[in-house]
């Protein structure tokens, strides 16, 4: 049964659809600048920095080892992997899983993330819901089941209306997630908008823990990968 094609007033398009797009976009840009203002400089840990460089060096050795003589390559491989004196075997890092609740710098970072990302979304979502309620905005191009109805059609109590017709709040949320790639075009690469609603503190916490765990993990998997690197000297044929 074909769904009844509704004809929407074109002023809806002019006065609702486009304004919501603009509002979302400008709020996003504003959010970016506010995050930049509130941004605090992270203090670089010397140990972490040097560890990351060592990891890079071992990776370079693995990839470009064929450019140096065989003896030099084995010498370096032993430096990293020797069972008694190898760098990756002997250097242990204390992995202290940082509790986000007690670590003050992470707590403030989390709060800032929450404030700048989640709060505006709630506020503006609510206002849009209030201001543009009672009518449908647009039709999503794919069919949706009935369970999506209460979510996407706030304020419209028509049982027979197809679930594909959505209200303004859902159009707003669609914009929020859809405009992210636009931000990277306009604001440059590392804009602060990429946080998003779902990540919150988990992102910040995972970043810290990930940095530490990364240094631990190589100790476990690197020796395995390294046991049999085939060293074909590239410089052997002249």
């Amino acid at each position: 049964m074909a769904s009844p094609e509704l004809l929407l007033d074109s002023s809806i398009r002019m006065w609702v659809v486009l304004p919501i797009v603009f509002i979302t976009f400008f709020v996003g840009v504003l959010r970016h600048y506010v995050t930049q203002l509130l941004h605090s400089d992270k203090k670089v840990d010397l140990e972490q920095l040097s560890d990351s460089q060592v990891l890079l060096r071992s990776r370079v050795l693995r990839e470009n080892g064929k450019y140096i003589p065989k003896q030099s390559f084995t010498m370096r491989k032993h430096y990293f992997n020797n069972t008694e004196t190898g760098f990756f075997k002997t250097v242990k890092r204390k992995v202290v899983p940082k509790n986000p609740m007690t670590d003050s710098s992470m707590l403030t970072d989390m709060m800032k993330g929450n404030l700048t990302n989640v709060l505006p979304m709630i506020v503006i979502g609510g206002w849009i819901n209030w201001a543009f309620s009672g009518f449908v905005i647009t039709k999503v191009p794919f069919p949706l089941t009935l369970r999506f109805k209460p979510m996407l059609q706030r304020g419209i109590d028509l049982l027979s209306l197809d679930a594909s017709w959505v209200s303004s709040a859902s159009w707003y949320f669609l914009n929020v997630f859809g405009l992210r790639s636009m931000y990277s075009l306009i604001l440059g690469q590392d804009n602060e908008r990429v946080g998003g609603a779902g990540d919150r503190g988990a992102q910040v916490g995972a970043g810290e823990r990930g940095g530490r765990a990364d240094v631990q993990r190589p100790q476990l998997w690197k020796p395995v990968q390294w046991r049999h690197p085939v060293h074909q000297t590239l410089i052997g044929t002249y």
Binding site: V44, L46, L49, S50, Q53, V54, L56, R57, V60, L61, N64, G65, Y67, I68, P69, S72, L234, I235, G236, Y238
Partner: protein, 297 residues
Amino acid sequence: MASVSEMYDVGWEEMRDKLRKWREDNRRNSEQIVDVGEELISEHASKLGDDIWIIYEQVMIAALDCSRDDLALTCLQELRKQFPDSHRVKRLAGMRLEALERYEEANKHYDAILQDDPTNTAARKRKIAILKAQGKSTEAIRELNEYLEQFVGDQEAWHELSELYINEHDYGKAAFCLEELMMTNPHNHLYCEQYAEVKYTQGGLENMELSRKYFAQALRLNNRNMRALFGLYMSASHIASSPKVSAKVKKDNIKYAAWAATQINRAYKLAGRGTKETKYSVKAVEEMLESMQITMS
């Protein structure tokens, strides 16, 4: 004395762009920078906007090179006024003290920076440079080794260390440093060539073979590298004239040396094309090649 803009008939924008180009290319033509920069600062400071701070830094370092302490002090004072707590400015102040040979004070300056921020690589490198300037190369080598233990990825530092080792005639360790550089920059023919030269200097049949291979690699990466061509010729002739090699290896190396010699001759002919001295220079090259040739036993 005519100003730069009068002599070359350029406006202030061109001067500023020229300075930027020199900055990006990392060129050390200090006298030119001082001439252009001084005029830009004194006459057109207001038009430069925020560019002026980086120009101050660039001109200050050039002024230290040319012993223009007055200019350096002016730039430093302007920078200090604008950025009072900056480590970058403190490093410049330390460099000025180094230029005045007040090494103790400069050292204290850098120590203060490092206490505040232990990851500051610039201050550490300046301290090593002080040791080098004072001629204490063994200590400089030791400090540089410690620095590299923590910052393994710093290629500038590896290159500097290889130079220091070469000066101390410790060719084995210099080769190690150059290997690090070759690994991280496999397409750079200059590192290959330097490595080959170190191996050639070390001597011995194995090193000679390695050096010939790496000269060939450098040529493969850039076939206009004359030093590598000469190096190939020399190492190949050396191997060919060594008593310990088999006949086949000797023949191969004589072939390589002959090929290298023809390439050298051709390069010089091409270079001297159209000038009267061509005949003489080509003849000189041939004679030189013959004299360099190690006698075949």
